[in-house]
């Protein structure tokens, strides 16, 4: 409002961000680059090169890329259908996708165990339909399913927002000028919705890459992702230095995806909220 700076207004949140956002990150860097005696070392970061950790990172990258791609493939048509609805359905859509969040995240994910089990509900239906049984519980497939299920709204909402904001006249103009349906999509709709797509990709990729809960619940605790390794370093082994070192490696991937997002989405057009 008034152009004068008001220290009473800006003081509290600046102190808060410094104390609980900036200093904590500095501490991770500090722990990640020092040994338990407090001397400088690269050893914690090099821990990523051990066979188990490399495997965990590789599997996490693979599964998160797959589930991000699946989310995109599923959410884009969905967003197009929803944005073409006659009435303004924004409130309703947000409701439909936010309401599941009121059921606890862990229980929701656990429910997939019941659904996917050998004698679970899905297999009962498949058996009834004389289809082959689905044995994916405690495999990477189940983890991908859990990721897609949990993070699909993060892909849908930004894409939907960028589609709704799109000027209909541009699409109509393209059609008037003789573009076919496919051409209108590839030349007009897709490029204009790109900020939403990019923002959706980061919002699904980062949590999938770093999760330890989904792999824990649906992977039968035998499949370790990099998130699981870090969690164990802090919660079971108490090896904070190695845990912080591995977190730093993880943050490199997060920073790369954020930089890509920044490049394509300068004005925050693809924001989900």
């Amino acid at each position: 409002m008034n152009k004068k700076k008001n220290p009473l207004l800006s003081g509290p949140y600046l102190v808060w961000t410094a104390a609980f956002i900036i200093i904590p990150l500095i501490l991770i860097v500090y722990y990640g680059l020092t040994s338990s005696e407090g001397t400088f070392t690269w050893a914690n970061i090099m821990e990523i090169a051990t066979p188990e950790n490399r495997k965990a990172l590789w599997l996490a990258l693979l599964l998160s890329v797959i589930s991000t791609a699946l989310c995109l493939i599923m959410a884009y048509p969905l967003a197009m259908i929803l944005s073409n609805l006659k009435f303004n359905a924004t409130g309703l859509i947000v409701m439909i996708f936010i309401i599941p969040m009121w059921m606890n995240f862990l229980l929701r994910t656990l429910a997939w165990q019941t659904l996917l089990e050998k004698n679970g509900i899905i297999n009962m239906v498949l058996k009834f339909l004389h289809l082959p049984a689905l044995n994916i519980i405690n495999t990477p497939y189940a983890i991908v399913l859990g990721m897609v299920y949990n993070f699909l709204p993060f892909m849908l909402l930004p894409i939907y927002n960028s589609l709704v904001k799109m000027d209909r006249n541009v699409i109509n103009a393209a059609r008037d000028l003789g573009a076919g349906e496919f051409q209108t999509f590839t030349k007009i709709i897709l490029p204009l919705s790109l900020p939403g797509v990019i923002s959706g990709i980061t919002m699904v990729f980062v949590p999938s890459l770093t999760t330890f809960v989904i792999s824990d619940l649906l992977g039968g605790s035998k499949i370790l992702l990099i998130g699981n390794v870090i969690e164990q370093k802090f919660k079971q082994g108490s090896n904070w230095n190695v845990g912080s070192g591995l977190s730093l490696v993880l943050m490199v991937f997060i920073l790369i995806s954020m930089a890509i997002m920044q490049k394509y989405d300068k004005d925050g057009e693809g924001a989900a909220f």
């Binding site: 207004l9 808060w16 996708f97 599941p100 606890n104 229980l107 994910t109 019941t114 770093t210 997060i254």
Partner: protein
């Protein structure tokens, strides 16, 4: 044909989203103690739930943390949005970038970094004879921190849409800046403030990862309690409680959304 395909696809997504929830609701009526076996219908878990003090404690902690963290994050986020709005573009981008870190960063990293800062603070304070106990306060601070960006992001667009002249008109007409803010600015940005609060409340209620790292032994929210029960088997009362929470929120949201329809947008 095309319409039919679209409709089938919508139904498919809807089933995918709500099948687990329906499963949990049905499990809450399962007479058998394990989720692997169906033992017929019963409502007994809904009764024994209220006698289970461990679950009731966790529920109380979850709710109080959600209410407090959402309220404080909303107040803090409101001051942040107001002062960011009057800043120059460059400093605004930088500070907004910092505030957004907990939203864009991995939850596990945010959780770990907060845990490290509490430990460091505890070590520092022991020199003066104080200690930091991991529990209510650390969880509350953690939740406020990750709620803050969502609140700021909900309020900022509303502030940008605001017509500055109305505020100046109020000042010209003799209102104090305080009064002008409460009577003119705040009512205009209220929908953003409200949706920010609701989002913060929802996220706090559902959070597991950050709570997992900053809670101490002995302090449990519903999420952390469920996580420790996973290996031993989830108590059926937990399904009953989640169903109750889910249904009551659903009803509440329906009431809220049906009433002020023409007012927002």
């Amino acid at each position: 044909m095309r319409k039919a395909l679209q409709r089938i696809y919508l139904v498919f997504i809807f089933v995918l989203l709500y099948a687990p929830i329906l499963t949990l609701i049905i499990l809450s009526f399962n007479a058998s103690k394990t989720r692997a076996k169906w033992g017929g219908w019963t409502a007994k878990w809904y009764v024994s739930l209220f006698q289970n003090s461990a679950i009731m404690d966790a529920l109380y902690n979850t709710l109080i943390i959600a209410v407090l963290s959402a309220t404080i994050a909303t107040l803090l986020g409101l001051t942040a949005a107001l002062s960011l709005n009057s800043m120059r573009r460059r400093s605004r981008t930088i500070i907004l970038g910092v505030i957004n870190i907990p939203m864009l960063n991995a939850e596990i990293v945010t959780g770990i970094s907060l845990m490290l800062v509490f430990i460091a603070l505890g070590n520092f304070l022991t020199q003066f004879g104080y200690t930091i106990q991991f529990g209510f306060w650390t969880v509350l601070i953690g939740h406020i921190t990750f709620n803050l960006p969502y609140v700021v992001l909900s309020i900022m667009p509303k502030l940008k849409q605001l017509n500055r002249s109305t505020y100046e008109a109020a000042l010209d007409l003799g209102a104090s800046p305080m009064r002008a803010f409460f009577r003119v600015v705040l009512p205009d940005i209220m929908p953003g403030v409200f949706s920010g609060f609701l989002l913060a409340f929802t996220l706090s209620l559902d959070d597991f990862v950050i709570t997992h790292f900053v809670k101490g032994p002995g302090f449990e929210t519903l999420s952390t309690k469920i996580y420790t029960e996973v290996r031993k088997g989830i108590k059926p009362e937990m399904y009953a409680l989640s169903t109750l929470l889910f249904v009551s929120v659903l009803v509440l949201l329906l009431i809220v959304n049906v009433k002020p329809k023409e007012k927002n947008k």
